[in-house]
C-alpha cells in the first residue's frame, strides 16, 4: 500500500529542516516535487509499505493505499501517533470503522522524544 500524498494537506513540511517523509523513508523514495513544493513517492513499486512516512507526517497528508491488483478500494488505514501510543483507524470498503490503540513505549514516565 504505497503512500499517496493529498495535495491540499501537504505543505512540504515548511518549518522543518527537512520534510519528514523524505527524512525517514528507508528506501529513499519520498521527494519534494519542484514546481508544487509537495511530496511524492518517486516509485510506488519500490515501497515496502512500512508506513513510516505515513506515521511521521505532521499533517496526515499521506494516505497509504493498497495495490489494486491485491485488494479493492476505497478502504483506509489511518495511524495517528501520540506520545506513548499509535491510534489506528481501519475503515473497510463498506465504511465500517474499527479502532485500535497500540502501546509504543514502556512505562508512564515522560520519555524523550524518539
Amino acid at each position: 500500500m504505497p503512500p499517496y500524498v493529498i495535495p491540499d494537506q501537504c505543505d512540504g513540511c515548511q518549518g522543518e529542516r527537512e520534510p519528514l517523509c523524505e527524512l525517514v523513508c528507508p528506501g529513499n523514495l519520498m521527494v519534494i516535487e519542484e514546481p508544487t513544493g509537495k511530496a511524492v513517492c518517486r516509485d510506488v513499486g519500490d515501497c515496502w509499505d512500512c508506513m513510516t512516512c505515513t506515521k511521521y507526517c505532521p499533517r496526515q497528508a499521506i494516505q497509504t493505499r493498497i495495490q489494486y491488483q491485491l485488494a479493492f478500494v476505497p478502504g483506509k488505514l489511518v495511524p495517528v501517533v501520540g506520545p506513548h501510543s499509535v491510534t489506528w483507524t481501519l475503515i473497510d470498503c463498506h465504511g465500517h470503522v474499527e479502532r485500535f490503540i497500540m502501546r509504543m513505549l514502556a512505562g508512564d514516565e515522560e520519555e524523550e522524544d524518539l
Partner: protein
C-alpha cells in the same frame, strides 16, 4: 570536475546501523571506554532503517524455560539437524535474556502475563508492542555517542596486506565520495532481498517478506574483500500470508493455528508423510516442503486455520499485526476478510538470503570472536553465517558480542590505522560513480531511454528472471538440478562480467539502485555455486535438488565454505567440520 570527498577515521567502524549495528556501538562503548571513536555508516536514516522499520510484534529468541543449551538444541532441530555453529549460538543464547531486559528498560513494551512475567509465544519467543522497535534500537547507538552518517551507501571494503583498512561509499543525498578508515570494521548491513522474482508485479514489486532495501551488500563486500563465506547453499523460503507476505508466527505459534489445505485437512497433523517428519512443530524447512507438496498435488489453496486457534488470542489478531505488518490489516479490510472468523490464506514468497533468521548465509567467523578470515574484519546480524535463528533479540546480543570483540581486539592488538593508496582510492571512486558518468555520455530514444545503457531496474528484472527460472524460484517450487544451475551460472556471470558496463544511473537515487544490482549479482554467484557444490538435499523445502534428493552425510555433514579468486572470478570451495557441543540426537528437541 573533482568530486567532494569526506574522510573519516574511526577505531570501530560500523557498516549498517541496524539491529546488530546499533547494539555493537553500544557495547563497544561499554567495553572500549570513553575515548573510543565509534562511527556508523548507514545507507538510510538510522532511526527507521532495516528489517525493523515496519515494527515487529515478537522477539523470536528468548530463554523462557530450560537453559540456553535447550534453545540451541531447538535451533538445530528446527533446521533439520543440519550443522550449526553451536559455539556462536550458545554465546548469543547466554546473553539474550539480559539484553532483552536492558531493552525493556530503554522503553520497549513487552507484554506480560498476570503474574508479571513476559508473555511467551511458544517455547522460545515473547510478545512485544514493537512499533517503535527501531527508534528504540537506534537510541542505543545515540546513547553510545556513535557518530552516525546517514544516507551513506557503502560499496566496498578496502584491504591492505590482507587486512581490512576501511571502506568507501557515496552519499545518497549529497553525492560525495566517502572514504572511511577503521582500526576494526564491522559489516552488519543485513541480508539480501530480491534475488528471485517477486510474486506481485508493478506497484506490488516490493510487497515481499524480507526488507527489500537490504540488497546483499554484506555478503558481496565480504566476498570481494576475500573473506571465507558459508551457508549460501541454504536460503529462507517464507510461507506467509498470501499477497502480503506478512509473518505467520503470530498465528502458527501465537495461537496454535494449523495449516490446512482446500479440503480442510490439517495436513501436518493428519497426513502420515508429514507426521513422521515432525507434524505441526516440524522443522521450518519441512513445513515449507509440506505446504509446497500440498499445492503441487492440487490440494490448494492452503490456509492458517485461525478458527481452530486459541479464541482469546485470535480476537486480537488485527491489533497484533498493526505492530508488524499494518498492510495486512488494510488488506483484510479491503477484501472483507475477518481473520478471527475465517482461515487466512497463505503462499510461498520468493526466497531471501539471510543468516540471522532461519537460514545460514554469511561470512565464516573465527571461534566466537566475530572476526572473519580477513584480519580486523568483523560481522554480525544477518551478515554472520552458519548460526541461524538469532532473530531480533539474538542479533542485538550478537551485535553486543561483536562490539566487545572489536574493543577487545583494539585493547590487545593495538592496531594502527592503515595508509590507503591514493591510486586505489581513485580507482574505487571511478568505479562507484561510473553508472552516472556513462549516463551522461548516452544518446536517447524518443522515450527517454538510453541507447547505450540499461537502467538498474531493467538489470534487476533480468537477474530475477534468470534466478527464478534456473535457480529454483517459487514458480519452480524451489527445485534445482545441475543442468539448470549451469544455465543460471552462465547467464548471471555474463551479466556480472560483460553487461555491467552498460549499467547507467540518471541520478543519485538510481546510483543506489545500481549498486543494489551489482551487489545482488555477486550474491547470485555465491548462491548458485554453493547450491551446486552441495550435491545433496539437506534443507528440503528451501533447496530441493532433483538430481540429489537425499542428504549425503558421508560428504556433506559439515559447513561448505568458499573463497573468491578475484583474478579468475571463481569460488574455491572448502569444508569446515561441524562440532557438536550439545550432546544427543540432533534431530530432536531436548525439552
Amino acid at each position: 570536475m573533482a568530486r567532494e570527498r569526506v574522510y573519516i577515521d574511526a577505531d570501530v567502524l560500523i557498516i549498517g546501523g541496524g539491529t546488530a549495528g546499533c547494539l555493537a556501538a553500544w557495547e563497544a562503548r561499554q567495553s572500549g571506554g570513553e575515548n573510543l571513536k565509534i562511527v556508523i555508516l548507514e545507507k538510510a536514516f538510522i532511526r527507521n532503517s532495516g528489517a525493523l522499520s515496519a515494527g515487529m510484534n515478537a522477539l523470536n529468541m528468548y530463554v523462557n524455560q530450560g537453559k540456553p543449551e535447550d534453545l540451541v538444541a531447538y535451533i538445530r532441530y528446527d533446521v533439520c539437524g543440519a550443522p550449526v555453529r553451536e559455539d556462536i549460538l550458545l554465546g548469543v543464547a547466554g546473553l539474550v535474556n539480559e539484553t532483552v531486559a536492558m531493552m525493556e528498560k530503554e522503553g520497549l513494551p513487552i507484554k506480560k502475563k498476570a503474574d508479571g512475567s513476559y508473555l511467551n509465544r511458544g517455547k522460545w519467543n515473547i510478545e512485544i508492542n514493537g512499533s517503535l522497535l527501531k527508534p528504540i534500537t537506534a537510541n542505543m547507538a545515540m546513547k553510545a555517542r556513535a557518530k552516525v552518517y546517514n544516507r551513506v551507501y557503502v560499496t566496498d571494503l578496502i584491504t591492505v596486506d590482507g587486512m581490512v583498512a576501511g571502506c568507501v561509499g557515496f552519499g545518497v543525498r549529497d553525492g560525495k565520495y566517502y572514504v572511511a578508515r577503521g582500526k576494526t570494521v564491522l559489516v552488519c548491513a543485513g541480508g539480501a532481498a530480491g534475488l528471485w522474482r517477486p510474486r506481485g508485479q508493478g506497484d506490488a514489486h516490493h510487497r515481499i517478506w524480507y526488507y527489500p532495501f537490504n540488497t546483499g551488500g554484506s555478503y558481496a563486500m565480504c566476498k570481494r574483500a576475500g573473506a571465507k563465506m558459508v551457508g549460501f547453499d541454504s536460503r529462507f523460503v517464507p510461507v506467509r500470508t498470501k499477497d502480503t507476505y506478512a509473518a505467520t508466527g503470530t498465528m502458527s505459534i501465537g495461537m496454535w493455528a494449523p495449516m490446512i489445505n482446500a479440503e480442510g485437512e490439517a495436513f501436518m497433523r493428519e497426513r502420515e508423510e508429514y507426521v513422521k517428519l515432525g507434524g505441526h512443530t516440524a522443522p521450518t524447512p519441512i513445513r515449507v516442503l509440506a505446504y509446497c507438496r500440498e499445492m503441487q498435488n492440487n490440494r490448494g489453496p492452503c490456509y492458517m486455520d485461525t478458527t481452530k486457534g486459541d479464541p482469546q488470542r485470535v480476537d486480537g489478531l488485527k491489533a497484533q499485526y498493526l505492530d508488524i505488518s499494518p498492510i495486512l490489516v488494510l488488506y483484510w479490510g479491503c477484501n472483507d476478510i475477518n481473520p478471527s472468523r475465517e482461515p487466512v490464506e497463505i503462499d510461498a514468497g520468493n526466497p531471501s538470503i539471510i543468516g540471522a533468521h532461519a537460514a545460514f548465509a554469511g561470512a565464516w567467523t573465527l571461534g566466537t570472536s566475530r572476526m572473519t578470515t580477513v584480519e580486523r574484519l568483523f560481522v554480525s546480524g544477518d551478515a554472520l553465517g552458519a548460526a541461524p535463528s538469532r532473530f531480533i533479540s539474538g542479533s542485538w546480543s550478537c551485535g553486543r558480542l561483536a562490539g566487545r570483540g572489536m574493543a577487545g581486539h583494539i585493547k590487545e592488538k593495538r592496531p594502527e590505522l592503515l595508509e590507503l593508496d591514493p591510486a586505489v582510492l581513485s580507482d574505487l571512486e571511478r568505479n562507484i560513480f561510473a553508472p552516472l558518468e556513462r549516463y551522461e555520455k548516452c544518446s536517447f530514444f524518443t522515450s527517454g531511454d538510453p541507447v547505450e545503457g540499461v537502467f538498474p531496474n531493467q538489470m534487476e528484472w533480468r537477474m530475477q528472471h534468470i534466478m527464478e527460472e534456473y535457480c529454483g524460484g517459487r514458480s519452480r517450487w524451489f527445485y534445482v538440478n545441475e543442468t539448470n544451475l549451469g544455465i543460471a551460472r552462465k547467464l548471471i556471470n555474463r551479466m556480472r562480467r560483460e553487461q555491467l558496463q552498460y549499467l547507467v544511473a540518471k541520478d543519485m537515487h538510481q546510483l543506489q539502485l545500481a549498486w543494489d544490482v551489482i551487489n545482488r549479482l555477486d550474491v547470485c554467484q555465491l548462491v548458485i555455486d554453493h547450491i551446486d557444490h552441495r550435491k545433496e538435499t539437506r534443507y528440503p523445502g528451501y533447496v530441493n535438488r532433483s538430481d540429489y534428493p537425499e542428504a549425503d552425510d558421508a560428504n556433506f555433514d559439515c559447513f561448505v565454505t568458499s573463497l573468491w579468486d578475484a583474478k579468475k572470478d571463481e569460488l574455491t570451495f572448502g569444508k569446515e567440520p561441524y562440532e557438536q557441543i550439545i550432546p544427543g540426537d540432533r534431530k530432536a528437541q531436548t525439552i
